[in-house]
Symmetry: D2
Subunit: 434 residues, 4 copies
Amino acid sequence: MKQFFEGIPKIKYEGEDSRNPLAFRHYNPDEVVLGKRMEEHLRFAVAYWHSFAWEGGDPFGGQTFERPWYPQDNMERAKLKADIAFDMFDILGAPYFCFHDLDVRPEAGSFAENRDTLNEITDYFAEKMAAGGPKLLWGTANMFTHRRWMSGASTNPDPDVFAFAAATVKSCMDATHKLGGENYVLWGGREGYETLLNTDLTSELDHMGRFLNMVVEYKHKIGFKGAILVEPKPQEPSKHQYDYDVATCFGFLQKYGLEKEVQLNIEQGHAILAGHSFEHEIATAASLGVLGSIDMNRNDYQSGWDTDQFPNNTPEVAVAYYHILKAGGLKTGGTNFDAKVRRQSLDAEDLVAAHVGGMDICARGLKAAAAMLEDGGLEEALSSRYEGWQTPEAKAMLGSDFESITKRVLAEEIAPDPRSGRQEILENYVNRFV
Amino acid sequence: MKQFFEGIPKIKYEGEDSRNPLAFRHYNPDEVVLGKRMEEHLRFAVAYWHSFAWEGGDPFGGQTFERPWYPQDNMERAKLKADIAFDMFDILGAPYFCFHDLDVRPEAGSFAENRDTLNEITDYFAEKMAAGGPKLLWGTANMFTHRRWMSGASTNPDPDVFAFAAATVKSCMDATHKLGGENYVLWGGREGYETLLNTDLTSELDHMGRFLNMVVEYKHKIGFKGAILVEPKPQEPSKHQYDYDVATCFGFLQKYGLEKEVQLNIEQGHAILAGHSFEHEIATAASLGVLGSIDMNRNDYQSGWDTDQFPNNTPEVAVAYYHILKAGGLKTGGTNFDAKVRRQSLDAEDLVAAHVGGMDICARGLKAAAAMLEDGGLEEALSSRYEGWQTPEAKAMLGSDFESITKRVLAEEIAPDPRSGRQEILENYVNRFV
Amino acid sequence: MKQFFEGIPKIKYEGEDSRNPLAFRHYNPDEVVLGKRMEEHLRFAVAYWHSFAWEGGDPFGGQTFERPWYPQDNMERAKLKADIAFDMFDILGAPYFCFHDLDVRPEAGSFAENRDTLNEITDYFAEKMAAGGPKLLWGTANMFTHRRWMSGASTNPDPDVFAFAAATVKSCMDATHKLGGENYVLWGGREGYETLLNTDLTSELDHMGRFLNMVVEYKHKIGFKGAILVEPKPQEPSKHQYDYDVATCFGFLQKYGLEKEVQLNIEQGHAILAGHSFEHEIATAASLGVLGSIDMNRNDYQSGWDTDQFPNNTPEVAVAYYHILKAGGLKTGGTNFDAKVRRQSLDAEDLVAAHVGGMDICARGLKAAAAMLEDGGLEEALSSRYEGWQTPEAKAMLGSDFESITKRVLAEEIAPDPRSGRQEILENYVNRFV
Amino acid sequence: MKQFFEGIPKIKYEGEDSRNPLAFRHYNPDEVVLGKRMEEHLRFAVAYWHSFAWEGGDPFGGQTFERPWYPQDNMERAKLKADIAFDMFDILGAPYFCFHDLDVRPEAGSFAENRDTLNEITDYFAEKMAAGGPKLLWGTANMFTHRRWMSGASTNPDPDVFAFAAATVKSCMDATHKLGGENYVLWGGREGYETLLNTDLTSELDHMGRFLNMVVEYKHKIGFKGAILVEPKPQEPSKHQYDYDVATCFGFLQKYGLEKEVQLNIEQGHAILAGHSFEHEIATAASLGVLGSIDMNRNDYQSGWDTDQFPNNTPEVAVAYYHILKAGGLKTGGTNFDAKVRRQSLDAEDLVAAHVGGMDICARGLKAAAAMLEDGGLEEALSSRYEGWQTPEAKAMLGSDFESITKRVLAEEIAPDPRSGRQEILENYVNRFV
């Protein structure tokens, strides 16, 4: 059954000096970092989508991969794909995986048949999971590929599409719940617009708000204990997507009364497209209390679209984990590789090696982040910079008003003297660890 | 006194056939559009900042303009500047102007002296306004130029800067109130960060939220009837600014209980920098109920920084006014030219002609937008596209839940059939008017 | 045979007051502009690629269109597609069309079969052209869609791919020559790299240079009189493409001795992706003597990828034609709509209306550009600005050296006094015409 | 004399375990890497411009630094500045420095006075250099700050500005030659345009080409043995700059017959602004034979303008040096920190620490690059990927033509089978070293 990965062994930790491209040099699941096993910190998940459903196409080119489970249009090949996917989860020792409904079953056109094949394949997953396979980090519904979604799912001008979306999400939540999924994700790639000329913003947002409330209501109804996660992205495929970035999603959640019920799944690539850094989005979500999970796949800074590459820059990854650790670590969430090998990376070995490299970079980043926290230099610098706000006078000022503050400014002839922000010194400090 | 503008006459409307570069070809203040005079629709304001305070510098070059009121460091030249500014307001027939404190008085270093010179010069303005000068669209405090603000105003790590900012805003609100200003604006160019490494996001946002509440409390205390406006911008000068865009500001206002008290001042250039279109930001603000006023100055699409150019593209301007008119038009807000002539545009004539061109483009855009609304084609297309949502079944669905919707999808075998979005046809329609 | 376009009449010119969405309001082929018929100025071409071969997919979604000629995998449907395409050329009154080999024939996998089906279908075209159909503006080879091209065509690490590319281009040049094509185009979407780590820049560029020389050699050999055109694009699908922009292509052409033999096909969307304006690329090509033809399809300024939309902004289009007219107009080249309707624009009417709108915008732009040239205001301003260079002293200076110039600077105490660049006045001037 | 840097010792190498923020952890000048001392590989230079002339301003804010040599308007303070600058060179052990004329002398307005003060201060430098100070990597003329340059230097519409530029460059080349400078640099920040409407592209480029030829002629005349370097940048301050990127400059050099005489000074930040990576620009210049020197200062990927930050990402820096080492290393060029501390980094310690951190990152990057080259894995992968081109048949094909190649494709039924590009495996490989 492992013939697709013939010759590729189960990946082991061999330490930094290893020159084996199919070994971990940094990721040692059982190594304890800040009192917790590395595996429990990182909670790696492999994404079915990019590794098994995407065929290597891009806007100017078709399929490049040749896989035994193509074409992906019947249940027999869906099961073969599952066998091979679970082989890879095993090879990598990945504790989690994630999937969209469309990744794992053929598209039939009718809701009933889609639901039935989803149930069949997830039963097949359940057996594999029971037999020692990975756990499910999250499930989700693909409501962007089929032409029915072209003008949106919950925000579609056609209420029948809203209905089809509701039924679809229900079926995916049911499957996720059945498999013990720890989260349920919604990414609204078509919830947005191509042109304002044909768009009723207010209705669409209201419909999306109502839909998300239905998700939360249904979660409680079925007793799903996982988190509901929304995934921000500013654009692509749409010209504008409503879940633009963390701050936009937070405003939306507040407006529809959901900020205590829904958290965010933050992706590095999407952060970049929105004009932010990954750590900005993580720190903002943590600050607003909505940090849920991460998609650890980078974008090329030069390319104005999602490139979904495996992470490969330790300093960047370290800062991301630093903010995650500061916020108390990942809870129901995990580190999902929503990443794809390049379309020229044709071989099974490429698929495995890409994950090995990504896991190693994350492990390096995590260890560096933990070391920084243990050393405490950044925290100390922060306390020192803001120490003025710890005085009773400063605290009292926040409870007062413009008139009394003005009196004090005049009486004390306050004329603030700037202090250095010490940015380069702090950057050098970080470089001691990465 | 008009010697700076020697040879430049008061600008008149001469109609489309005029070849006079110092005449309006489209802006006819008294022409009635949709039942209202054009002047009342557009509510043009001239910005003191760019036209009289900026000296032509850029990051690689110094002053290029030579003005009789330079250097801007004493009250005598501040009054000469005021004389010339009001001459230009008169030449243009501008009904409004706007200013920062720093635009109109020298910087002294001490709050008391800054407040006193601000009061002195605004008394001087009051005389000119009483003598037939324009009204004040809004006042604001420059809390970004002086080095004391380098690490933020209300978000500064040093509580003394918060205090200085509070006193400064109070003095500017007092001056704005005294002059009958119709709005008060806050732009937080330094409310953000250069690096997360030295930034306490949560405290900074809480301080900014408290500060804005103080502004609102003080407004009510002094009986200021104008609107409080926050101006979104994603970055520049800071790497990240908290008031990133309309959606981000709305989330912030909700979090600090201010979404009924504060509106937004939306700038085309800032929309572009945030990855949006101007009309997106206007339509979003209108949809969220926070559309206040606009800064009608474009950015160059190729330049990754604020270029603050006068508008010159009628089709773009028309779509912006279309969304404003749909939202009921500008109320306390106006059309402010937060625009500067290029640093190579050295002459007084450039300054006047730039405003004339900008006002004309806005007038053309407004008339086109009004014609589209009167024709009704876009509204009709929108109604038709969303008509499915008007049925009782669709409305009932929004009040129901996933289970009953799923039952219906199965029972009715719902399989939605996509309809054309007709984008190009709508774009062609718009081109009939612009 | 016209059943696909049932109910859609041949498009006529009805003038500006027409409200018929399927009529020209500006494009009147026989109207004389600057002494030449509008049709001869604009030389419109319809692109087979976007309108008949693209199925509505994007990176996150599949086919949305449903066309009688899908799936595009046999010759019978290839002929049906041709029938419908020529119907549309007729409906639009388009004087030209353009195609890639892959647009018009199925992909067989073997070169021989691909060549034979290409010959068969182009014979079929020849009949239609002889029967009054449009002329061929240019032909080209699609060397980016099939997986064989994934690592480049002439720049592929595998010399067999170079060979396959050579044979393919020969077959396309033969077909183009047979049909009386007026140009032959090369767009190198895969001539570039995904990562420098696996790329030998020097070899790849040398191979590309040699390949282009072979194209020119073959052109002369067969007596093809049309122009050879290279189409610049900076990226997408590749991370970096060698034909980045006009200036880069010019450097490449010089290096391989081709700057007299090869011209450029300039696309608005590609200009934007490279950080330029369309008019910049046109003016640069004109200045360097390599302006060939244009692809008149705009990119969305907000989207970091090619959106290939129909033009809809008259002021932008007018400036493009202004630079073309200044350079003497299009010669062998034309105005090709390398544009696609949005994937939500499902109907045959959308396809026709999009072209009608695009042609009208171009006609408006052309007339505005011609009017500006006739008025002469911009040319006059330019002459006046540079008039100093017309003096014998200035011309002599260019022939001299640093030492003699320095002597003169010292002797004459030269201290230049800046003059206004008058940018806003010129922008206002342009707005009189657009 | 060291009082500005009071308490800051001469920086020493202390090794990786050092926690001293004012010690080198990686830069050990005498350590031998690939057979050469690290100091000779890296050839570090400190830029006078950012560290001593820039006062902390940005487009929205004024001076933040307070230095004893401000205001920079007389020769006494120019000498004090020199004293302090040379103190810092000494503290850092920097082997080189660089300067613009305007960095080191006050601006007088007249050429004669500017030349005289330049000569006076460079004599002062000469003494310091003779007394053990650093060598001069390059000199250059600032032809962008003063208002006389606002419309260009050699490309100015006013020939008097061309003359003033010629005299200025002559004076700077003389000073550079006198000080034994190893290169002379030209950066054309104003050689470009704000709007095409007022620009004669062809004349401006011809004037720039002639000017650069005069530079080369003068170099030979005075026997200057250093390299003439042009520094590419796409925009900022201008909307478009003629020296856009490496490929554009190469095209320009060829057109004006200078590709053997002039090399390029490549900056990471400028590469980013042009849509490239730093390693792309370096590799392209190396491939074209025009790699001269580097400015090792990064841009923030989120900010659309030059941020000129000290490098802090080892993986990025390592790849840059990898391409430099592959090209044979830096010859007359060096690693110049054209970088500035953030405007909030007020203290002398910030200035020193920023350089220390930057030098360390470069040393780490160089060592990683050298280790990769010694290991040979990337070179081996490259040879293997392109090995097909080493066969006699492949080489013969390059000398043949389309017809004979086509015959072979048909005869041999060539149907290329793609091979994996192995990108992720190569990226993982690089991560073993960085």
